[in-house]
């Protein structure tokens, strides 16, 4: 049963981040997701220090605030023509990340606020945090993942036409009266929420690999954005499954192995090994 849940959590996470990558990366940058993952460390640290407990909702709040502030900082810095967009992302998340590590080292050294946990996640532990649902103990994260998927898929469904145009030709869409301010805002808030909600099982460091994988798997040969999405999901789920299988059989860390398989598979597909 536990194994089933491990697979389920992995696959749901993979699908979710694949979709997130498919939208965020053409619109923005691959590293903004990575940046969110790193910057939440500051929020977690502050939330923990104030709340004095690992279960605190302050941690969640702190993490979200950090992610949003980081995004604001990126927006502020990128306006300067002497600063590259990539640099503004790098500087912003490093700022929050360094502050987070600093705070943890000073105030939380003794506590089990293990940095490894935050960066790598631990699916193996997360499955034990469950609640009863129709007489079965189901891990809480599954509900969160399903909810996240429903929100994202609904968003895609409603804005489908607009998203297609915005992602292909941002400037043209502006001249046609489509404002992507709303899309941007939704993505920033949504991504922050998802990353913060998933760091305890998937970890901040692995997300980017999954989000970028669609571009090796399905970008080049797809004739429509829809088929791009579908193909990406099929491939990432396949490789995610293989990664999970390998991790469980060889006693390797699940999130790192899954990330390795998915990014590896994507690169292999990019170089047309299959």
């Amino acid at each position: 049963m536990m194994t089933f849940f491990i697979f389920l959590i992995t696959l749901l996470t993979v699908i979710l981040y694949t979709l997130i990558g498919c939208i965020t990366i053409p619109l923005n940058s691959a590293f903004i997701i990575d940046a969110i993952g790193h910057s939440i460390i500051a929020g977690i640290a502050i939330g923990f220090i104030i709340g004095k407990s690992l279960d605190s909702s302050l941690i969640f709040l702190g993490a979200i605030s950090a992610a949003l502030l980081m995004n604001l900082m990126v927006n502020f810095l990128k306006k300067d023509k002497n600063v590259e967009y990539d640099s503004s992302i790098g500087i912003s998340f490093s700022f929050f990340f360094a502050i987070g590590i600093l705070l943890i080292s000073i105030y939380a050294r003794n506590v089990h606020l293990d940095l490894d946990m935050i960066l790598l996640g631990n699916i193996e532990f997360a499955i034990y945090d469950s609640i009863k649902f129709f007489n079965i103990m189901i891990p809480k994260c599954i509900f969160m993942l399903i909810f996240g998927l429903i929100v994202l898929l609904s968003f895609l469904y409603i804005y489908w036409n607009k998203i297609n145009v915005i992602l292909f030709d941002k400037e043209y869409s502006k001249t046609r009266g489509i404002s992507f301010f709303g899309l941007n805002l939704f993505l920033i808030i949504y991504n922050s929420f998802i990353v913060v909600s998933s760091f305890n099982f998937i970890g901040a460091l692995i997300l980017t690999g999954i989000a970028a994988a669609p571009f090796g798997f399905a970008w080049k040969n797809s004739l429509s954005y829809k088929s791009f999405l579908i193909k990406s999901i099929i491939y990432t789920v396949l490789f995610g499954f293989l990664g999970c299988l390998a991790a469980l059989n060889l006693d390797l860390p699940i999130s790192a192995t899954v990330a390795f398989f998915i990014s590896g598979g994507s690169i292999l597909k990019l170089f047309e090994f299959f």
Partner: protein, 241 residues
């Protein structure tokens, strides 16, 4: 201001630029309807900045830009914009047909994946006009530069606009594409509509256009292209010095 001359574009006191730089300062420009107008000038003169300011891709610092005496936002469905080819990600997963279709309906008012039926007809019509029907199902990356330019123009045509704003539509094209696009300019004029295009090559401007705006940080000339060779030569020298 002559009352019966309808101006498709009226610019007054315009100061515009980007990234805190000012490229054009306090310029004025009136372009009448139903012309094939070229905007010509050296690199950095402000041609593209002007074009992009017209469609509000750059915020203007000062001044007024009116289309048939109205603001861009009020009349934008009647204005079709064709950006520079190099600014788009051609590796995006999309077919020629789907790109052109974007122009055929009002996207800002469409929800879900609903597209009005007429859009399909307009799309095929535009594809035919640009000789692209056979490439409908092709990935846009498989096309040559000239064909890609035609896709963008087809998208603009599908909009059935009254004004076509094009940024360097004839740059780097093969002969066939050049001919097709040049013919489209004539069709646009014949149906009573207007095209304003940034044109990169002053040597060929007489072939495709009948109105010219010479820009080099200022408007040096704005008028019909029925000038003598000498007059044109003098003006060009003034612009490109």
């Amino acid at each position: 201001m002559i009352k019966d001359l309808k101006n498709v574009l009226s610019i007054s006191n315009l100061t515009c630029g980007y990234d805190e730089k000012i490229i054009l300062e306090n310029i004025a420009l009136d372009i009448p309807e139903n012309v094939k107008c070229a905007i010509v000038g050296p690199n950095g003169a402000g041609k593209t900045t002007l074009m992009r300011s017209l469609v509000k891709l750059h915020d203007k610092k000062n001044g007024k830009i009116l289309f048939w005496n109205k603001d861009f936002d009020l009349i934008k469905e009647k204005i079709a914009y064709v950006p520079q080819r190099k600014l788009v990600d051609w590796s995006f997963p999309i077919t020629v047909h789907e790109v052109v279709k974007m122009g055929a309906y009002d996207i800002s008012k469409s929800w879900f994946s609903k597209i009005p039926y007429e859009a399909e007809v307009k799309t095929i019509d535009a594809l035919n006009k640009m000789n692209l029907y056979n490439y409908s199902k092709s990935h846009i990356n498989d096309l040559s530069g000239g064909q890609q330019q035609r896709v963008f123009i087809a998208r603009a045509l599908a909009q059935n606009a009254d004004l076509y704003l094009m940024d360097e539509p004839l740059t780097g094209l093969d002969r066939t594409s050049e001919k097709i696009i040049s013919q489209i300019f004539n069709d646009i004029k014949e149906s009573g509509k207007t095209v304003i295009a940034v044109h990169h090559d002053w040597k060929t401007v007489k072939e495709y256009f009948d109105w010219i705006v010479l820009i080099n940080k200022n408007v040096i000339y704005n008028g019909p292209l029925n000038l003598s060779e000498n007059e044109l030569k003098n003006l060009l020298e003034k612009t490109f010095e």
